[in-house]
Symmetry: D4
Subunit: 225 residues, 8 copies
């Protein structure tokens, strides 16, 4: 049982307390630790569990215990049970500025999907060719929350936020040349977005972006929403 | 008329395009420029205009043209017309970790209020005395969006996000000793929050925090919300 | 005579060597030193001399020796003789993202003008309202070089560079909230512009931007241009 | 004998001078150098010697000379003689915010243990689930010194320090997403802790944290303690 | 009564919970807010209250309500009641590397004193003249905790920690030339001290240093100390 | 066809819009993605396509679809069709401060060449031996644009800009000892060049430097150039 | 007597121990403290005492006790006795890249002079006009040590070091536009000088530069020099 | 012949111009380039050539052309001809704070030796055990120049400079825990040394340190030294 793991204390009542399931951050854990957690998780098919930042060894450990788990290799993410819940709430659109931003964008997409939202993916809409993003404006304006993943200059969230009413969750990626400093440059760009309505999360943190978007687009539990 | 201002092009259709009114960032503008904008604004009493980062000279300039404008000196904010619109959407709770974070917190509060949300303020609930924030848990859990303003270690958003289902908009303040580096320390803390659901905005940017919270708590324009 | 100044050695043959006149950087010089340089300059009405970063005391010192000098207070710039040379070469367009970027933009404009280029100024075309910059596309596409001054997210040069064939000289300004870090944020954005064709200069360095644009738009001295 | 090592001068009288034994920092030393030091150490079974930051090659070198040495692979630490001294002084509690912080936490634990303190380990008590740390409050309040190892937001030391009378030794770890910048984020958080009583040591420096905690919890050599 | 302050919630039971009194951080508070807190404090003469980072206006506000408060202008600190409690626990020695470090050192000294410790001050013992610190070795070795305040290279804590058994609380100061970067240089030096036993606090944070030293030198509440 | 690529949207009309062809940034793309793009490119022999930052696997993928593509391994660049267009416009000179800067310099050279400029390469002309650069002054003064690639102190662009009338495109490289910080040091040097006329691009961004130089040296499309 | 100063312990035997006199760093000291030190100094006319970083109030305090002290206002330096000792050792040349670097250069010059060296000053020889420094090559090659003060790109020390056999003491100044970051840019340039033989000191630290140059150019006390 | 190398221009007259031989920085060069340079060097046995930062492949390339070259693997340095010149000038002492600093210290030592100085090496004299450095004071005081290599807190140069009359060349190393930031921490410490007389060079730049020390300790070419 989870409580007996000597190295981790699963936050079992997080779903009850916050309304969102547990996620297991695999980086920094040994495959053995991840396998033990996966085994503990098997006893709780009623809640979704995400495994994020799962390298090949981590993924193998999870699949040894949960062979039918959903697995997106590029996004380094697994989910179990493998089917997301029936969606409710508003639409979450995830946009990737460039192809190199796709792994982070897909981590966000799957997270929002497994947390119960409808999702759409938009790719290669960087600001160097404005017509590409303008062409998707209809879709973007239907969203209740938009995730934008961008590296290099990180300018896309500013542009998108200026065009829509919904909040934009901006996730900087570590894509780029030297002075991107591992994602610092787009991070600062997004924090300084001249259009209000940009919510910034950590560099390459697709999971956090998808989670935040899912919360924003959630049906409000009371009658106030 | 606004279009004729030689130094600014007011984004008059922003309300139409984004659903949110224009804000005039006063820092870096001369009092004369601010006064000219205020005069142009007077012709449009149907939309709210916010003047942010308004020092004493800026405030004087605004009030010379809009004498009945709402003015919160500590928050360096003015609004006109002086009465916020009838609120709709969900509740926005604004929490200040310490007394020194109040100016930023109030800038956020007024922004959300003038953008049409119901708001509540909670003060002095820093993590050094956990009982203070735990005592407000009921109020926090009623919110559709929570703004948390904190300087120094900036740890409060992590703690709050771990206790509620709603998104937390975290605004770092420049309050603190040397190694806070003008708000850099709480900014990094918030970006690295171990609890998902934290949306970070710029240092001391109460306006941006309030705007984002108002968007999150907005009634969704379609039937999906 | 200049050669006898005990604290400075004017680069008198710079015009001959580089084709561009001398500029006197006033910050860090005493008003007395600036006055002495202005007096030396008076003997050379055949070449333009610019005085940059001239505070009120510096300006007073220059005007005491060169009373008819051109003076733009906001741009902190003086020029003598007061009339720019007859323009040749291509058009230089200077764009300011926001009103607060105007002082830097005008320093660039005057520099290009006094170095012999035709110039046009465009204001308040930040990316938060894309329609504003798109409306000026015709003008922008007529330019041989475009200077873009922007603070905060510094995203405008990326967007402009993606729309035109001419090089964009990007000058970050120190306008913005805390995490702009005195212009560092837009500086990094510009260096990481996802559209090629962006030439970055120092923070708030309108003089350098205008000089570079004037060089780019210069008639080429040989038959190759 | 140690004095004859051509590349190191062991601080043999450190135990006499400071009351604490020598530690050999293996990173940056060749396995041959480490083996030579281990051989020299063998002549002094009366004092404990720690080998820290010992990679596999270093560990092999130590064990070739001191086959019965204590070895914790994850903590990259060896100790000889393999049994810690009889404990005295107060209790040292070591808390790890997450499973990924365990290697650093265990380096601290073993260091305190081999320096003569009673120790207890607490795992997975990050602030995202406050109930987990609150449940351990009794144990934490029995400690004379508490080591807290945390990456990401590094918020746990602030929270713990606000709940207890004992000093908290905070050791930031390099665990986390991009904007943790290799431990810089939790380091700054801890330096800015809004609760007084937090003693910060270097990133990932479990040895230093355990040593400092052992000093704080030491029986005071005179009658003043 | 404190509970009614609209802008602050005094942590009245902190003494009960942590064993240490409340401190009021004045920077960022208005004089009116500080005066209101001082008035509230007057009702509780049984516990010590410290007012830290109190500029002239803050001090005036405190003294208007608590005219007999202790006040050290250089240290920007007030305390009330004006007499520290009867000391117990071990000796706290506070060392200032240079004269310019004195304000921070004295803030530490008074804090430890009002928290109930015996204290001694040592001045001008920087490492550029080693004989000065070596001459005070007897006093340093009698301490249960040593505070070292140093700017510039911040090397003194390393040297002191190598000579004594007690923990050294290192507080970097913002004293120094350009590349000290407002205290960043000595902060990094102290975090990287090659001698173990150095506990680092925030730049210029004499209060935090004194508080931590007082905790380390405290009589242990149970029989384990 | 390109439009059907699921992970990228080629900017097919970029040549029409900007006058310059598409470049495919390979870093962060999988070899499969690069191969698919190369296959799509094959249908458009009328425009040049550059593949930049192409590691061995990327290069193999390109060559599998475009076997006759031009390939410079050191510069990590491929181009197809393999012959550059007939040159027009002014001369672009590319100077490398040291041998280690050659890969970046050659990426710039090939980019300018495939964008239609005549080019010359100058090597090993660092400022530590001024005579080397002075000896090339004639060539440098014939250029319409000069690219200077330099690591370490990055001083060469300042020196060159002081000697010529043409703009200098400065590209910092990540060559150097520790305090070069991966190219940050020469980047800052170039941004602070005391000679005006220096256009800075990103660290190691030879592609961007060559592109910008090609634009500067372009024949101006109208009669104004 | 000095020993009785309650806030400072003058390093009276420093001349004996190191061969160089005491310097009093005035920044961070009160005028009263500086005056007391000046009074103590008066009793020792046999050794030179320098007062560095002396603002107007500090200077007044020194002159009240030592009315005939040497005072260079721009360099913020005083010396007593007012006459430097008879020079010996080699020549120290001090070069200032620009006029704005003069205060730092003169602090270096006076320091070397009062420590007993012959000195020469060279001004306005920045690398933007190479002919200016080349013209002084004869003087530079006669020096035993050269101090170079430069802000902005800080490129001058690299260039000078490549031309001479003597060591170059490089002192970065805080002169420049935004991305000079208060002297960080020239500091990094100098540390990365591609010519060996550059000794870097702290930003704006003319005193340290002059002291180091005086040591380098000193007659060697034994027969080995 | 060297002049014909297509990728490098050897500075053949550097010995004539500066009095010091050429050094070949191998990092960033291919083994083929290094071998070609070594072959060119073979024709000039009259001057010493150093190969620095030579990894195993570089060393092999050098030795293939110059089989009898001197080679110190740890210091990654080769020299040819293999015997240093007959020493003259003053003594250079090289001190390594810890064993891990030895590679850098030995690079400095060999450089000074091959540039013609007598040298001595002192190891493991870090400030955590002051008695170790004090024991070597006689040797240190005989030196005309002292190189100190130190990582972590980098405090040793300050301490040594306070004890001797000769200049101290301080070379920070990248040895240490996380917050040493690859040598940044000791670099800042050394730049802020509270004792004057510290000449700082780049991180891990043993070559630069040895070269500078050799220049300082050189016999002065005129009668002034």
């Amino acid at each position: 049982m989870p409580d007996e793991l000597p190295f981790a204390e699963l936050d079992l009542d997080r779903t009850a307390r916050r309304g969102y399931p547990e996620a297991v951050y695999c980086a920094g854990k040994t495959p053995e630790q991840v396998a033990a957690i996966a085994a503990a998780v098997r006893a709780r098919p009623d809640v979704v569990t995400l495994f994020t930042r799962a390298g090949p060894e981590h993924a193998k450990a999870v699949l040894s215990e949960l062979p039918d788990a959903f697995h997106d290799t590029d996004a380094a993410l697994l989910a179990w049970p493998p089917e997301p819940p029936e969606p409710d709430g508003g639409l979450v659109v995830v946009a990737a500025a460039g192809t190199s931003d796709l792994p982070v964008a897909r981590e966000a997409l799957h997270t929002a999907r497994f947390l119960g939202r409808r999702t759409e993916l938009v790719v290669d809409v960087g600001v160097a060719g404005l017509h590409r993003v303008l062409r998707r404006l209809d879709l973007l304006r239907r969203a209740r929350a938009i995730v934008v993943a961008a590296g290099m200059d990180g300018a896309l969230p500013s542009v998108v936020a200026g065009l829509v009413a919904a909040p934009v969750v901006a996730v900087p990626t570590s894509v780029g040349y030297g002075a991107a400093f591992g994602g610092l440059a787009p991070l600062l760009t997004m924090l300084n977005a001249c259009a209000p309505g940009v919510a910034v999360v950590n560099i390459d943190n697709g999971y956090g972006a998808g989670h935040l978007a899912a919360q924003i687009a959630a049906p409000f539990p009371t009658d106030q929403g």
